[in-house]
């Protein structure tokens, strides 16, 4: 099983194939509605690429990615609300829930450039602070997973409570335009799809480079034997921090694109249940592989839409069963399937084993 050996060519071909499927095939065959759905799945897939990096490669089970997704999403939603309100006007919901005045810190979000900066900077800053607090004190494994989940709970609670600036439980919606382009125009929706799919492909390329870099090797080493890495002269906390921050930024960008595509962001999109739901696709596709998390997230997103359309309620059963069956029987995800099946046909492999041992004794 060459799961972790570098197969750069194959991975690049995979990324290229996915790029063609998303950027050429999908727009050609899908109607606007389906394409919009696919754009939404691409947002989840961006988060998934990050989860693959943090969890699959780094061993950090991040159960609170919804928070970083939410940071990106709400930052974008602030901007779009201001865009919808028009210059010098304040967003409608502030009239409704607040006293009709806008807090001063909302003002900068009128600027598109500032918003884009914050989409990256906010998740990066929060994850850095959090990562330093957690990794430097060697909080890991189950403790880390539980803390990250509690984080999502706390963040969603905070969002709900700050109704005058976040829209509370109902979230933010009723956006009209995206950086000047009307959201009602199907052409612009297509453009947003292309941007989103392009961003996903770009993130895969980033992940590709990270995985084949020395950092990628070190990350795996940290996952498998964190204490041993210390004796190579590295502080594992720094290695994990880098992966954690990159994952957070990917989630933030995914969240930012989610907003113009779906047209609403609410606490339900970012809370702990949504966060752990993002894990499902990663597990299905193969957590430690390059393409597995993204493809898994696309598949799970599609399954959710189709199942919810046909049998409401069945989606929950399906998601539950997905977690149980995949993690229990196929922890490497679908990407593991070929080698798993290969093991069922032992004829060729058996020859190699004694040879290995013979060399080993020499």
């Amino acid at each position: 099983m060459k799961r972790f050996s570098t197969l750069p060519a194959l991975n690049l071909i995979g990324i290229a194939a996915l790029a063609v499927a998303l950027l050429v095939l999908a727009p050609a065959v899908l109607d606007d509605f389906r394409l919009g759905n696919l754009a939404k799945y691409c947002c989840y897939a961006m988060v998934a690429v990050g989860i693959g990096l943090a969890w699959g490669r780094g061993g950090m089970l991040v159960l609170g990615q919804g928070m970083f997704f939410g940071l990106g999403a709400y930052v974008m939603a602030f901007h779009l609300k201001l865009e919808a309100a028009g210059p010098d006007a304040i967003p409608d919901f502030m009239m409704l829930y607040g006293n009709g005045t806008m807090p001063a810190w909302w003002e900068p979000f009128r600027s598109g450039a500032f918003t884009l900066f914050m989409v990256v900077a906010l998740p990066a800053t929060v994850s850095t602070l959090l990562g330093l607090a957690v990794f430097k004190r060697r909080i890991k494994g189950a403790y880390f997973a539980i803390l990250s989940q509690a984080l999502a709970v706390a963040f969603a609670t905070l969002i709900i409570s700050q109704i005058e600036v976040t829209g509370g439980f109902n979230g933010l919606s009723a956006f009209t335009s995206f950086f000047g382009y009307s959201l009602y125009d199907p052409i612009n929706q297509r453009m947003i799809f292309f941007i989103t799919a392009g961003l996903l492909v770009a993130m895969l390329l980033v992940a590709f480079q990270l995985y084949r870099s020395r950092f990628g090797e070190l990350l795996i080493a940290t996952r498998d034997a964190e204490e041993r890495v210390r004796f190579l002269g590295h502080d594992p906390a720094n290695i994990k921090l880098v992966a954690f921050v990159i994952a957070a930024v990917m989630a933030g960008i995914g969240g930012a694109m989610f907003v113009p595509i779906v047209g609403i962001v609410s606490p339900l999109d970012i809370d702990e249940v949504a966060s752990i739901g993002l894990i499902a696709g990663v597990a299905l596709g193969g957590r430690a592989t390059l393409l597995g998390p993204a493809i898994g997230a696309l598949a799970v997103g599609y399954a959710k839409t189709s199942l919810s359309e046909t049998f409401p309620g069945s989606w929950t059963y399906f998601q539950g069963a997905l977690f149980v069956l995949v993690i229990l029987f196929l922890p490497g995800g679908l990407a593991q399937l070929p080698s798993y099946l290969g093991r069922l046909r032992p004829a060729r492999k058996q020859k190699q084993v004694p040879a290995l041992q013979a060399e080993g004794a020499a």
Partner: protein
């Protein structure tokens, strides 16, 4: 002064609820290292047991007393079933267990929704829990006091089992050195099952108790599971007393924060406090120290 006493009491009763929920986790997570996200759904099962018991025995004065042991049994059996079918296969993969049991929890929630509907079910509290008890010039709701009593009772029971019974010795032996326990004739598999039964059963009791303060819905467990895990993490793994202190500390701190800020801000601040606390003691309040690298 009034504020302090009343918030102390509110905090203590929240702490008691937290402790009831966390006590089972202290066994399954703390002693066995299994992260069972379906623990919240065992709470829910306990709550629905209380509801069903009341449907069968319409006298609310006695139905609660019947429901308590029944809830323990129902949740305990669910836990046993989960241990035997799923968890036993993955003791070496604790993080994966978390995800699998989350999946199980999702399924259990949907089953409850399909069986009982999405509407919350109310369980009438017994008449002997109505009213207030006046102590030192303050009135305390009797239901809250009753929950504190149940929590203390469960705690005492759990501690006694761990400390004085042969089963408790087997549990502790298995926790401390699995292989050694095996070689001296302890059936570690059997011990795992019993521990899991007890831990899950406690969730059932907690669920029954929760019907006194909250309505019974299919996602009842989700709002308790994360705080309860935080309690065990802050308390330190492998030590029940850590969870006790952490539960009451979080309950009381939360009560005061709620009073001075708001309920939701209190949740956020409590989380920040736990993270800050783990900066000082990364392994929680109490730790079992070893010299090994692992």
């Amino acid at each position: 002064m009034d504020v302090i006493v009343s918030q102390l009491f509110t905090g203590a009763s929240t702490g008691a609820v937290l402790l009831l929920v966390a006590l089972g986790l202290a066994l399954t997570f703390g002693q066995m290292g299994v992260i069972n996200m379906a623990h919240g759904e065992f709470l829910m099962a306990g709550a629905y047991t209380a509801y069903l018991t009341q449907q069968a025995v319409s006298n609310s004065d006695v139905s609660l007393l019947i429901a308590l042991p029944l809830g323990f049994l129902v949740a305990g059996m669910l836990g046993l079933l989960l241990e035997m079918t799923v968890i036993s296969r993955m003791y070496h993969r604790p993080l994966d267990t978390l995800l699998v049991t989350f999946g199980v929890g999702l399924i259990l929630q949907q089953v409850a929704r399909d069986v009982f509907g999405a509407q919350p079910k109310a369980v009438a509290s017994p008449t002997w829990l109505h009213g207030q008890l006046d102590l030192l010039g303050y009135g305390y709701p009797v239901t809250r006091l009753f929950i504190v009593t149940i929590a203390v009772g469960c705690l005492a029971g759990t501690a006694a089992v761990l400390k004085y019974t042969a089963l408790g010795r087997r549990i502790r032996a298995t926790v401390q050195n699995r292989d050694l326990a095996e070689t001296v004739g302890v059936s570690t598999r059997g011990t795992d099952r019993v521990t899991f039964f007890l831990g899950s059963g406690l969730a059932g009791v907690a669920g029954v108790a929760l019907t006194l303060v909250t309505a019974t819905v299919s996602n009842l467990g989700t709002s308790y599971i994360v705080p309860a895990f935080l309690v065990v993490v802050a308390g330190g793994i492998g030590q029940i007393k850590g969870s006790v202190i952490a539960a009451f500390a979080l309950g009381i701190v939360g009560a005061f924060l709620t009073y001075y800020t708001s309920g939701s801000l209190a949740t956020v601040l409590t989380f920040v406090l736990v993270v800050a606390f783990l900066q000082i003691r990364p392994q929680g309040l109490f730790t079992v120290r070893t010299r090994s690298l692992a």
